[in-house]
C-alpha cells in the first residue's frame, strides 16, 4: 500500500483512520477489509465503478447506514479523532453533528431557507435569535449563497434552483461547525455551471473542514481532490495524491479505470 506517501505530505494527524473494515448489507458483503487514513483539512475523492462500495464506505463515517435494516460493520474499525465510532456507547447525534453530510440529490426540507440553515442549531436547542441569525449568515456565506438569498431568507427553499438548493444543503451541513464534511456525488444532479460553483466552494471549504467526496466524474476528482482513492469490488485498490493516481498509477486496475478501459 501507498498510504505512507500521503502521510509524508500531511503534517496533521489523519482525521479518519479506517482499519481492515468489512461491511455487509444483511448477508451481502459490500466492503472487504478496507484500510485507509484520510488526511485532515484536505479533500479526498473516492472513485470507482458503480457498486464498488465507495458510497457505502462514505456512509459508514457518520453511521447513516444504520438507517438500513440489517446493514452492519462485520469487521475492522473506523476511528475519527482517535475514537472508534462503531462502539455501542457512541452518541449518534453528536457524531453526526461532528460529521456533516451532503447527499447526491439535493434535499432541502420543505421549509424556508432560513429554517433549513438553522435546523441543526434548533435541534441542539439554540433559541437565541441573534445567535441563529449570525450562524445562518456565516454558513450561507461559506456556502457562497448569501448574496443570492439574503433578501428572501424566509421564502421557501423549494423556490431555489437546483445548484442553489445543493449549496443550501452544504450551508445546512456546515452551520454547526462539523470537523468533517461528507459529500456523496454532490454534483450528480446539477448542470455544469452549478457544478463549477460547488467545486470552487470545495477549495474554500477545505480550509476549515476535512472533506470526503464520492464522485463518478474523474475530471472533477482531478480538479478538486488532493488525494484520491480508487475502489473496486468492495476493496481499496490504490490511494495516493490525485496527480499520482491519475498520471502514474501503480496498480494496473487503476490504470485501466482512469484511462477509461472499464467502468
Amino acid at each position: 500500500m501507498v498510504n505512507h506517501l500521503a502521510n509524508i505530505a500531511d503534517p496533521l494527524p489523519p482525521a479518519i483512520r479506517i482499519d481492515r473494515l468489512c461491511f455487509a448489507y444483511q448477508a451481502k458483503p459490500a466492503l472487504h477489509g478496507v484500510t485507509l487514513d484520510l488526511p485532515a483539512r484536505q479533500v479526498t475523492a473516492f472513485i470507482g465503478p458503480s457498486g464498488c462500495g465507495k458510497t457505502t464506505l462514505l456512509r459508514c463515517f457518520n453511521r447513516i447506514n444504520d438507517r438500513i435494516p440489517g446493514a452492519r460493520i462485520t469487521g475492522g474499525s473506523i476511528h475519527i479523532h482517535g475514537i472508534d465510532i462503531n462502539r455501542p456507547d457512541i452518541d449518534l447525534q453528536e457524531l453526526r453533528r461532528r460529521v456533516g453530510m451532503v447527499f447526491q440529490k439535493y434535499n432541502p426540507f420543505p421549509k424556508s431557507i432560513y429554517e433549513n440553515v438553522v435546523y441543526s442549531l434548533r435541534l441542539s436547542g439554540i433559541r437565541k435569535r441573534s445567535q441563529l441569525d449570525e450562524s445562518a449568515e456565516a454558513a450561507l456565506r461559506s456556502a457562497a449563497l448569501w448574496d443570492e438569498v439574503k433578501d428572501r431568507l424566509h421564502s421557501s427553499a423549494m423556490g431555489l434552483s437546483g445548484g442553489q438548493q445543493q449549496r443550501l444543503c452544504i450551508a445546512r451541513a456546515i452551520v454547526s461547525q462539523p470537523d468533517i464534511l461528507l459529500m456523496d456525488e454532490p454534483c450528480a444532479a446539477l448542470d455544469p455551471i452549478a457544478t463549477l460553483k460547488i467545486e470552487e466552494l470545495l477549495h474554500q471549504l477545505k480550509e476549515q473542514f476535512t472533506i470526503v467526496i464520492v464522485t463518478h466524474n474523474m475530471a472533477q476528482a482531478t480538479r478538486c481532490a488532493d488525494h484520491t482513492a480508487f475502489m473496486y469490488l468492495g476493496k481499496l485498490v490504490e490511494f495516493g495524491p490525485t496527480l499520482q493516481i491519475f498520471q502514474t498509477p501503480h496498480d494496473p486496475q487503476t490504470l485501466a479505470y482512469v484511462t477509461g478501459s472499464f467502468g
Partner: protein, 631 residues
C-alpha cells in the same frame, strides 16, 4: 404501397375490433357513473326546489289564518311554563338532595324488590290463577307448582342488585322476608315500606323550611292561567280557519288538475264531464275576514293579559331565594334567575308585537328560506303548524361530528404517526390490519353495540356517586350525542388512520435521511420534518374522516337518541350528554312515511341537498390538500 393498402397485409387493422370493444366497455362504465351522478343531482334539485314555494304558502296560511297571532301569546306562555318547571325542578332537587340518603336507600330496596318480583311473577301468577280457579289447595299439581316457584325464588335470590346504602343486616332481613314471602302477599316487604315512609317523612321535614319557595312557585304557576285560557280559546278559532283554507287549496289543486285533463281530453263528452267536475270543485272562498275580525277584537284582552302577567311575575320572581344548598338545585335556581329578566323583557315587548301584527302582510319567498335555514323548530305532522327549521338537526350533526373528531383525530393520527415512524415491522403487521378491520364492521352492528354495551355502561357509570362531579352526570338518556360521537369516532378512525399513514409514507425518505444526518433524534426527525411535510395530507385525512362522519346514518339513527331539539347549553359540557337528531337521521327516519310530493317530503330533499353540498365541500377541500402534498 397502393397495392398493399387495399389487400390484406401483416398490419391489417381487423384484429383491433376486439380491442375497441374492450375500450368501449370501460369507457361506457366510466361514462355511466358520471351520468348517474348527474341524474342524482338533477333529481335532488327537482324534488327539493319545489319546497320553498310550498313552504311559503304554508307560512302564508299560518299568517292569514291567525295562527301566527296566537303563537305570539303562546310562546310567552310556553316560556312561563318552562320557567315554572325549572323552579319546580330546583325545589325538588333541593328536597331530594337533602334527603339523598333516604331516597337512595328507598330506591335500592325497591330496586332489589323489583328485581326479585320480575323473576318470580311467572311462577307466582300460575299458582294464583290456579287458586282463584278453585283448584284444591292440596292437589298434586299445586304442589309441583309451589316446588317450581320455590326453585325460582332461590334462583332469583342468587342474583340480586347491589344495595350499597343499606346495612348488611337490613339487606339480610329484606332477603329473608323475600325468601319466606307468601305467594298471595300483595304488600311491599316491611323494609321497603318502612324506607318509603322514611323517605316521605324526610321529604316533609325538608319541605318545611322551603314552604316560602313552594308558595312562590305556586303563585307563579297560577299567574299564567288567564293567558292560558285566552290562548286555548283563540286556538280553536284559528284552527278552524286554517282547515277551511287548506281545504280550499286542495279543491283548487283538484280543479286545476281536472281542467288540465279536460284540455287534453279528445272525446267531447269526456271533456264536458271533466269541465263539469272542475266547476263542481270550484272552491267557495274560505271565510277568513269574519274570524279574523273577531280575533282582532281580542287584541286588547291579549295585551291586558300580558301586562298583568308581567306585573305579577316581576313581583313574584323577586321573592325567589338567592341561594339553595344543593348544587343541582343551586344550578337550576341560577338558570331560573338568569331566565327571569329575559322572560320579563319579552313580556314587555309582547303588547307592541300584538298590536302591530297584521294578517295581510305578505310572506315573501325569502321568509321561507330564512325560516328553513335559521328555524329552531323542526315540527312535522302536528295539528297546529308544521315548521321546517334545520337548526336543531344541523347542530346535532355538528356536535356529534365534533365529539367524533375530537376522539378520532388523536387516535387515528396518533396511531398513524406511531405505526409509520416508531413501530417495529412486527407491530406494523399486527396493528394495521386490525385498525383496517374496524372498517369492515357493518354500521348497524356497531349501532347496537353502541346501544347495548356502550350506552348502558355509560349510564351506569354516570350514576356512580364518585363520578357525580362530571358535568352532565348522571345522564338520563343512554342514547345521546356523546355515545353517537364515540361510535362514529370508531368508524372514522380507520379512514383517518389509513390516509394519514399514506401521507406520512409519501414523505420522501430523503427528508428524514437529511434530518438524521444533521444529528436529529428519531422524535426530532418525526416532529420537525416528517409530520410537517405530511401535514396537508394529514389534514386531508381528517377532512375525509369528517365527511364520513357527517354522512353516516345508521349509527346516529340508532344511537343519537333522535330528539329534535337544540341541546340545552345552559348545563355547559353536559349538553353533549343530551339526545339529538341529525341531518342524515331525519331523512332516514321520515322519508318512508311522508306523503309523496308533500311539503314535508320536499323538505327532506332539501336537507339531502344540504348534506350533499356539505360533504361535497369537505371532500373538495380535502382533495385540494391531497394534491398540495403531491406537488
Amino acid at each position: 404501397m397502393s397495392k398493399t393498402a387495399s389487400a390484406p397485409h401483416r398490419f391489417n387493422k381487423s384484429g383491433l375490433s376486439l380491442e375497441k370493444a374492450i375500450k368501449f366497455f370501460f369507457a361506457s362504465n366510466a361514462g355511466l357513473t358520471i351520468v348517474i351522478l348527474v341524474l342524482i343531482i338533477v333529481f335532488l334539485l327537482k324534488e327539493g326546489l319545489g319546497f320553498f314555494p310550498g313552504y311559503r304558502r304554508e307560512l302564508e296560511i299560518y299568517r292569514i289564518a291567525g295562527l301566527e297571532f296566537v303563537d305570539l301569546s303562546r310562546q310567552n306562555l310556553t316560556t312561563h311554563e318552562q320557567l315554572a318547571s325549572v323552579l319546580n325542578r330546583a325545589y325538588y332537587a333541593e328536597i331530594n338532595g337533602k334527603c339523598a340518603r333516604e331516597l337512595k336507600r328507598s330506591r335500592e330496596a325497591a330496586a332489589l324488590f323489583n328485581a326479585f318480583s320480575d323473576q318470580t311473577t311467572a311462577t307466582r301468577d300460575l299458582i294464583l290463577n290456579n287458586l282463584t280457579a278453585g283448584i284444591d289447595p292440596d292437589s298434586e299439581m299445586l304442589a309441583t307448582l309451589r316446588k317450581n316457584h320455590a326453585a325460582n325464588v332461590q334462583k332469583a335470590l342468587a342474583k340480586l342488585p347491589p344495595t350499597p346504602h343499606l346495612t348488611l343486616t337490613e339487606r339480610t332481613a329484606l332477603i329473608d322476608s323475600l325468601r319466606s314471602r307468601d305467594v298471595t302477599a300483595k304488600d311491599d316487604p316491611p323494609l321497603v315500606a318502612t324506607l318509603t315512609e322514611q323517605y316521605a317523612a324526610a321529604q316533609q321535614v325538608q319541605a318545611k323550611p322551603l314552604a316560602g319557595l313552594r308558595a312562590t312557585i305556586d303563585a307563579f304557576e297560577a299567574t299564567g292561567s288567564d293567558l292560558s285560557t285566552l290562548v286555548s280559546e283563540m286556538t280553536t278559532a284559528v284552527t278552524a280557519t286554517k282547515e277551511s283554507l287548506q281545504n280550499a287549496d286542495i279543491l283548487e289543486k283538484d280543479r286545476k288538475t281536472l281542467l288540465a285533463a279536460a284540455a287534453r281530453a279528445k272525446d267531447p263528452a269526456e271533456r264536458a264531464r271533466l269541465m263539469a267536475d272542475a266547476q263542481a270543485s270550484l272552491a267557495e272562498q274560505a271565510d277568513i275576514d269574519g274570524p279574523m275580525q273577531s280575533l282582532m277584537l281580542r287584541k286588547p284582552t291579549c295585551i291586558e293579559a300580558h301586562n298583568a302577567l308581567r306585573q305579577t311575575s316581576s313581583e313574584i320572581l323577586t321573592q325567589l331565594p338567592t341561594a339553595l344548598s344543593q348544587p343541582e338545585a343551586e344550578r337550576l335556581l341560577r338558570a331560573a334567575r338568569k331566565a327571569a329578566p329575559v322572560f320579563l323583557t319579552t313580556l314587555g315587548q309582547a303588547p307592541g308585537q300584538i298590536s302591530q301584527w297584521r294578517h295581510d302582510t305578505r310572506v315573501p319567498l325569502s321568509a321561507a328560506i330564512r325560516s328553513f335555514l335559521t328555524g329552531k323548530d323542526w315540527v312535522t305532522g302536528g295539528e297546529w303548524q308544521d315548521f321546517y327549521g334545520i337548526l336543531p338537526l344541523l347542530v346535532g350533526s355538528l356536535m356529534i361530528s365534533m365529539v367524533a373528531l375530537c376522539l378520532a383525530i388523536p387516535a387515528g393520527v396518533g396511531a398513524a404517526i406511531y405505526i409509520n415512524q416508531f413501530a417495529s415491522g412486527h407491530e406494523q403487521s399486527l396493528v394495521k390490519p386490525v385498525i383496517e378491520f374496524i372498517q369492515a364492521i357493518p354500521s348497524v352492528v356497531l349501532g347496537f353495540i353502541g346501544i347495548l354495551v356502550f350506552g348502558s355502561v355509560l349510564r351506569d357509570l354516570s350514576q356512580l356517586d364518585s363520578l357525580a362531579w362530571v358535568p352532565g352526570f348522571p345522564i338520563e338518556e343512554r342514547l345521546n350525542i356523546f355515545t353517537a360521537g364515540c361510535l362514529l369516532a370508531l368508524m372514522s378512525i380507520p379512514t383517518i388512520f389509513s390516509l394519514a399513514e399514506d401521507a406520512l409514507n409519501n414523505v420522501p425518505s430523503a427528508y428524514s435521511e437529511a434530518s438524521d444526518a444533521l444529528g436529529a433524534s428519531r422524535i426530532q426527525t418525526s416532529f420537525r420534518v416528517v409530520i410537517p411535510a405530511a401535514f396537508s395530507g394529514i389534514l386531508a385525512a381528517v377532512l375525509l374522516g369528517l365527511g364520513r362522519v357527517i354522512g353516516e346514518t345508521m349509527v346516529v339513527l340508532l344511537v343519537a337518541g333522535n330528539r329534535i331539539k337544540i341541546p340545552d347549553f345552559s348545563s355547559g359540557i353536559g349538553a353533549f350528554l343530551q339526545p339529538s337528531h341529525t341531518l342524515t337521521g331525519i331523512i332516514a327516519q321520515e322519508l318512508g312515511e311522508v306523503p309523496l310530493g308533500s311539503v314535508h317530503y320536499r323538505a327532506l330533499f332539501v336537507v339531502g341537498i344540504l348534506l350533499f353540498t356539505i360533504v361535497l365541500g369537505i371532500n373538495a377541500t380535502a382533495h385540494k390538500f391531497v394534491s398540495r402534498t403531491q406537488h
